[in-house]
Amino acid sequence: MKFKSVFDIIGPVMIGPSSSHTAGAARIGRVARDLFGRQPEWAKIHLYGSFAETYKGHSTDVAIVGGLLDYDTDDERIKTSFDEAAEAGMEFEFIPETGHTDHPNTARVVVGDSHSEMSMVGISIGGGKIEITELNGFPLRLSGNHPAILVVHDDRSGCIANVSNCLYKYDINIGHMEVSRRQKGEMALMVIEVDQTVERSIMDELRQLPNITQVTRIAD
């Protein structure tokens, strides 16, 4: 079941005009910022399908930029996010693509600064709900039926054990887990599907573990 909570249906509280193209877009931008870990200096946003066709009318662009500035779906500053981005020193470009994607509302968000860059693909599945399907070329295979978190870490022994121990401590059951890495000893990631919602405080605790670089929620 992709929609788990009544508040997926009656909600979110948001700035109009579209839950999938505005609220969902803002959430995609915000997850990208969350994964990048700081305010990016630049962003290139590739839009596909209905996103590409109607992004201006739905304010998808201002919403994604708002998300990159860490605004929630009901933050009034979304409306003026282009000005806020200029003030924050973030450059951005929107590129409507014609290529076919599996989902009609797909965005590839590439962000970076002088230190590093990151690429992420998010889809907006309706009513403001989103899923992250790819990170830096890693496909994130989610069933979509359970809440999921993404943990980016250095490829060192003990990381997986530490994370699963921490979840165990809060009685969070892991239903499915995938681990992958680019090269031995380099960046690695875990996609963990769980049966319970992982609260922010638990995510903060995961972030404190050794060799963990990023923790974010990729499906609610």
Binding site: M1, K2, F3, K4, S5, V6, F7, D8, I9, I10, G11, P12, V13, M14, I15, G16, P17, S18, S19, S20, H21, T22, A23, G49, S50, E53, T54, Y55, K56, G57, H58, S59, D74, E76, I78, K79, P104, N105, I125, G126, G127, G128, N145, H146, D195, Q196, T197
Partner: protein, 299 residues
């Protein structure tokens, strides 16, 4: 994942077997899935209710979108109701005007609560605040109205779609109207089965509705479709309360909506390439708003 219901049949059976309201089953399921307390959940839903009230209030004072395509109709409707000569009746037009008010606020990038989406956010609150004047519900009953809507929306979202890009407007305003009619029935004292009949009747009349927004904006025809969704919801609720039933069971209607959405061409699923968006006037409005040359219609 353990849930109390996966389809309308299970929802209605559980409510009737346990002699509970549909809203109660939804609240219990929310507690089960999220492990949150009843109080927490009720407080969050009341916040959503307050956002809806504020949006209606704002819309009834008169708002206009940046494009200028929509705005001000809720005010016209309220003034017309006050004259007392309306043909469809005060409650009906009140629901319509409040649905329009919400979507005018949405189009103007105001704050709304998606129910189930932003483009269809007018129907549930519009009907709620209109029937409120006749049924005089408590605050809790108003919150329950949203849980009942949510219970049916939960089934549609998981078994079909609530996204215009995936299923057309039938998935958005269609779902919203059907959800609202089920909630009206509960608030009016109907049975869970009658709620499901109202849902089925409304949804059947929304099947096939395409998503063809002019210039890709959630304005034309979205705002007026919310008006019609609200009126459809009220009529179907009355039909169900009168004892009229749907020959096709609710879950099969939802299945039909999904199938129709799948076979709908993408030009009619929120791409602004077909339907009203592709009419000469639709194209002209698009070029006026976003600049660029006027291209032929229907391509």
């Amino acid at each position: 994942m353990d849930v109390l219901f996966r389809n309308v049949k299970e929802l209605v059976e559980r409510a009737e077997n346990e002699n509970k309201l549909i809203s109660e089953i939804m609240i219990e399921q929310e507690m089960l899935i999220t492990q949150r307390s009843r109080e927490d959940i009720m407080v969050q839903m009341e916040r959503n209710l307050t956002v809806m009230e504020e949006a209606v209030e704002k819309g009834l004072k008169g708002v206009h979108s940046v494009s200028g395509l929509t705005g001000g109709d809720a005010v016209l409707l309220q003034a017309y109701i006050e004259k007392g000569n309306s043909l469809s009746g005060t409650l009906m037009l009140d629901a319509v005007s409040k649905a329009v008010a919400t979507n005018e606020v949405n189009a103007a990038m105001g704050t709304i609560c998606a129910t189930p989406t932003a483009g269809s956010a007018g129907v549930v609150p519009g009907t709620l605040f209109a029937v409120k004047n006749q049924l005089n519900p408590t605050r809790e009953q108003m919150i329950r109205y949203l849980f009942t809507s949510g219970a049916f929306g939960f089934v549609v979202a998981n078994n079909a779609s609530i996204s215009g890009a995936a299923g057309g407007c039938q998935a958005e305003v269609g779902s919203a109207a059907a959800m609202a009619s089920a909630a009206i029935v509960e608030m009016a004292g109907g049975t869970p089965q009658q709620s499901s009949e109202a849902f089925a009747i409304t949804m059947k009349n929304m099947l096939g509705l395409v998503c063809d927004p002019v210039a890709g904006l959630v304005e034309v025809p979205c705002v007026k479709r919310n008006a019609m969704g609200a009126s459809n919801a009220v009529v179907a609720a009355d039909m169900a309360l009168a004892g009229v039933t749907s020959r096709i069971p609710c879950d099969e209607v939802i299945g039909a909506m999904f199938e129709i959405g799948q076979s709908m061409p993408s030009a009619l699923k929120e791409t602004a390439k077909g339907g009203l968006a592709a009419t000469p006037t639709g194209k002209w409005l698009e070029s006026k708003i976003f600049g660029g040359s006027v291209v032929g219609s229907g391509k």
